[in-house]
Symmetry: C5
Subunit: 104 residues, 5 copies
């Protein structure tokens, strides 16, 4: 999985019928220090994430292992909202009090 | 998924029999700000997209989860035509009135 | 899928038994303007492609969806020979009269 | 597989129900000379790895082949703790006495 | 598949039980001209390759299609030892008499 920030939403009314009812979030990838990498992905939201949340997303066939995405043509899914993470003993992110944001 | 622009079509009459009847579109990848990334993909069109459309495409085994592509040797599929998307509260694209196109 | 040019062949007599009888082609990736990207892949040939052909190849599990590659440890397959393609209304390649070759 | 160093942990209490009970480790990728590549991944820990360990991790659907990750939406798993490795006859890493660390 | 050179071995005694008995080789990726690309992978050896051999390796779910790797959490496998290959009519490599080695 990779860590990303939810930054927006994609609206698509004309789509494969298996995609009806899914929400597509625009997710910006960040590195392990919470610095944006310049990459993004559009992921199905399986956990109700909101703008500004740091999330974990899975790609490929693993993205179809949630109940929501089973058998659907989606190759990326937000499967967790991140509360916090640390690297080498330093707190990089905490939802209540973000630290180190973009501070590499 | 990633967002792309449909820019062309590939014609291939000599192909694996499982591919007969599929339409192959040339799709240019754009980033979350609608700026071309320099990458492209040839994707099976499952939704009737046309040139200039912004689309969502899925890769890998997920590309075989549409009714059209089930069991076929295709690793990329256009599974939705994008109506609009926004990033950080800003409208990046709307089919009726494109904004921010390539304006990074 | 991506577009590539068949440029050579790999000979390997010592291999997993499931690979016996498959032909391995060296394929150079080109971009949507027919310019080499610097990447390559070794792909199983499911369609009888020859040197100089532009082909479509699929990667990952999709590469095992041809009758030839079903259940075999191959992660790339040539599943179509390209007759022609166009980008933004311009003919980029036609087998009878190649145009725009490497001319970006 | 790739080799990585376990450098941290991700806490996520709001997640897909299939992920309950899994531990998420932040893993920094290193190259074959034990030099960080700048990439990272968040992987499910199937072997009880700790901070500073060099580990092997698998990605994609292969990450779901451990008993721990079967059927879960995870696309990366730590499936082995590395004792040692060598390249061209030179010992690059040994858990008891690391050598060549970052020394490229 | 990609072509690589076997350059070393990884020892890991603490691992997922499904990995017991597999040999992990360090493989340096080379391009179609036999020039190292700077990338590497750790692959399960399904064919008894040795140091210095040029090999073909498959990634992703295809890596689990050998009898040796079926159902195991491995995402890369050496499935063939290369005897020789050619590009644009030029012999790039032959096991008995290597040519063009690293000669970019």
């Amino acid at each position: 999985m990779l860590i990303g920030e939810v930054v927006g939403t994609v609206v698509a009314t004309r789509k494969d019928e298996k995609l009806v009812g899914l929400k597509f979030q625009v997710v910006r990838e960040v590195d392990e220090r919470n610095v944006p990498t310049g990459k993004y992905v559009v992921a199905v939201d399986a956990v109700g994430a909101g703008r500004g949340d740091r999330v974990l997303y899975a790609a490929g066939s693993s993205a179809r292992q949630t109940t929501l995405t089973d058998g659907r043509p989606a190759d990326a899914v937000i499967m967790a909202i991140v509360d916090s993470w640390d690297v080498e003993g330093e707190a990089i992110w905490s939802e209540q009090a973000p630290v180190g944001e973009g501070g590499a």
